[in-house]
């Protein structure tokens, strides 16, 4: 499964470009790949193993699938699928659709490679693959704001990548290899060595920058809000979560383990992000900017869960990554619907859109409730797991903070929902209609996922989350 999920998208991109096929063909090929990626996690007999055997005769990669990578593969497949469908609605020309499909396939190859990697240097290469694809995706319309937001993202994210590489080089100096196994042995042997601590701190800082955690969040809102509608779904749902947060989880889970200092850093960074992200989100006037700052706040929860430093904490973090991918993609799809129908995103200029766009409004409400942690939606369960993990790891103050900060989440989402969808119908919006089926269907699909994962929570927990982190 591992190698085929990395190589099939790359081969697909080559086949689509030589000879150059039409945008429609590329679109359906990419959709088919994402669907196959999703299904191959649950049904290994769908051919992924055979293709992997064939490819591994030619290439030898240090990759390996475990439980945590499976959860990421599922989230990536869902988000990529939905975001490609959303992009198609906005792609006016065939060539644009072609470019979008190819770039998303490349980004998917990068994500799959990153989650399977067992080596810091391999991780770096795949992170750059994802980054390059997303830099192009953000600025694909060459709009003013997108160029600026994308350039900011490019500089800050590249600095983070170079920091990560610097720390990989330091680890090489100590361990004589960049493989996870060798490094974790070396960390055990020379844990007190200043080189090792410097490398660890550099690596964590780089990943916090990439994840958009609070002191390093400057790039995030620009990149999210200025990107084209479909690309925002992809960026907000999965790209920063894999390059930043998943790599962080992988780094602690497979490489260095948790020490007291690291836990403190994570707990403080996480709680700062939760509170400040939410406070900034309340003041924002742009629909997508509210979502961007809410992303910062939700990523804070993930980092906070990691700060617990236990297997339950890692499981909770992963589950929240999955839930965040689902409900944040759903909200970005809703913002795309609003943008498509009204042509703007300034939340003060709306009001009563719910009468005209019942499906968009309803699915948005469910996503809000899930994000704020209201049962029975899946967001409730992951927040509950986070709080349980913190409480049982004896970080009771932070557990209380996590509960109270849910009120902030409610605050900015209620503000958004009230200004955009509820209330009196704004007279200018009299002839707005419901978004096309290509936008409401993905929204309903994601909505069903949120409700489904919430109702079938015991199965999700027992089949995916607990095996992934080794809780029996």
């Amino acid at each position: 499964m591992t190698i085929s999920l990395i190589f099939v998208p790359i081969i697909l991109v080559i086949l689509l470009n030589i000879p150059r096929l039409s945008g429609k063909a590329a679109y359906y090929a990419a959709l088919a790949f994402f669907a196959w990626q999703f299904l191959s996690v649950f049904f290994p007999f769908l051919g992924s193993q055979q293709i992997a055997d064939l490819i591994s005769k030619f290439f030898n990669l240090n990759v390996y699938a475990d439980g945590i990578s499976k959860i990421m593969i599922i989230s990536a497949a869902i988000t990529a699928f939905v975001s490609l469908i959303t992009s198609k609605v906005f792609a006016k020309r065939d060539s644009r659709l072609f470019a979008l499909s190819n770039l998303m396939l490349l980004a998917a190859a990068g994500i799959n490679g990153l989650v399977f990697a067992r080596d810091l240097f391999t991780m770096y290469v795949f992170i750059e693959v994802i980054a390059v694809a997303s830099y192009i995706l953000i600025a694909i319309d060459k709009k003013d704001g997108a160029l600026e937001g994308g350039f900011k993202y490019l500089i800050i994210s590249s600095v983070a990548t170079v920091m990560m590489l610097f720390s990989a080089a330091l680890f090489f100096l100590v361990a004589g290899s960049t493989g996870f196994a060798e490094i974790s042995l070396a960390v055990k042997d020379f844990g007190a060595n200043p080189l090792v601590s410097a490398a660890t701190m550099l690596f964590i800082t780089a990943l916090l920058i990439k994840g958009g955690i609070i002191p390093f969040h400057a790039w995030l809102s620009g990149a999210y809000a200025e990107a084209p509608a479909g690309v925002s779904v992809f960026l907000g749902g999965i790209i920063t979560k894999t390059t930043g947060i998943f790599t962080l989880i992988r780094f602690f889970y497979s490489v260095v383990g948790f020490s007291e200092n690291i836990k403190t850093v994570l707990l403080i960074a996480g709680s700062l992000s939760i509170v400040i992200g939410a406070l900034i989100a309340v003041t924002q006037k742009d629909f997508k900017r509210v979502l961007a700052y809410s992303s910062i706040s939700q990523v804070g929860y993930i980092v906070l869960a990691l700060g617990a430093g236990t297997a339950l904490g890692i499981g909770a973090a992963l589950f929240h990554v999955f839930n965040h991918a689902v409900f944040k993609s759903l909200l970005f799809v809703n913002s795309a619907s609003v943008e498509k129908e009204t042509g703007r995103l300034d939340i003060d200029s709306f009001g009563g859109l719910g009468y005209k766009m019942p499906i968009t409004s309803g699915t948005a409400a469910i996503a809000f409730l899930s994000a704020a942690g209201i049962p029975p939606f899946s967001g409730f369960w992951s927040k509950l797991l986070i709080i349980l993990a913190l409480w049982s790891a004896n970080c009771k103050g932070f557990a209380v903070l996590a509960v109270l900060a849910s009120l902030f989440t409610m605050a900015y989402f209620l503000n958004l929902q009230k200004k955009v969808f509820f209330g009196e119908l704004n007279a200018q919006l009299e002839d707005v209609r419901e978004a096309p089926l290509a936008l409401t269907l993905p929204a309903m699909f994601l909505c069903a996922l949120t409700i489904g994962a919430g109702l079938l929570f015991p199965y999700v927990l027992r089949l995916l989350i607990f095996p992934a982190v080794g809780i029996v």
Binding site: G145, F151, V162, F166, L173, E226
Partner: protein
């Protein structure tokens, strides 16, 4: 490790972070977007030096060589993308100064 190679090792270990910090300083202080990319490149050169040194002093230059070559290739790709960004920004604003480009709030 003999005395000479220890000194050599210290030279590398000082040069690499110095290059790295110069790069970060350049990115932080300049207002010219091309100079930012140059700062990024200087940082990367610091990492290259460190990687090469790490391979040499571990006695594993054959492992480090492909890593450095891969790194250079990836770096060229990033440079190309940033060049595309810069060309488009200059076409829109007719300026390389971040103060003239910066319109985004927050």
């Amino acid at each position: 490790m003999s005395f000479e190679s220890l000194i050599l090792f210290k030279c590398y270990l000082i040069t690499a972070p110095v290059l790295f910090v110069i790069g970060i300083y350049a990115i932080g202080t300049t207002r010219n977007i091309i100079a930012m990319i140059i700062g990024l490149e200087i940082m990367t050169k610091g990492v290259t030096v460190l990687l090469a040194a790490a391979g040499y002093f571990n006695g594993k230059p054959q492992i480090v060589e492909p890593l450095i070559i891969t790194m250079i290739v990836v770096e060229v790709v990033i440079l190309t993308i940033s060049a595309a960004y810069i060309i488009n920004i200059v076409k829109k604003h007719d300026s390389l100064d971040t103060h003239n480009i910066n319109k985004l709030k927050g």
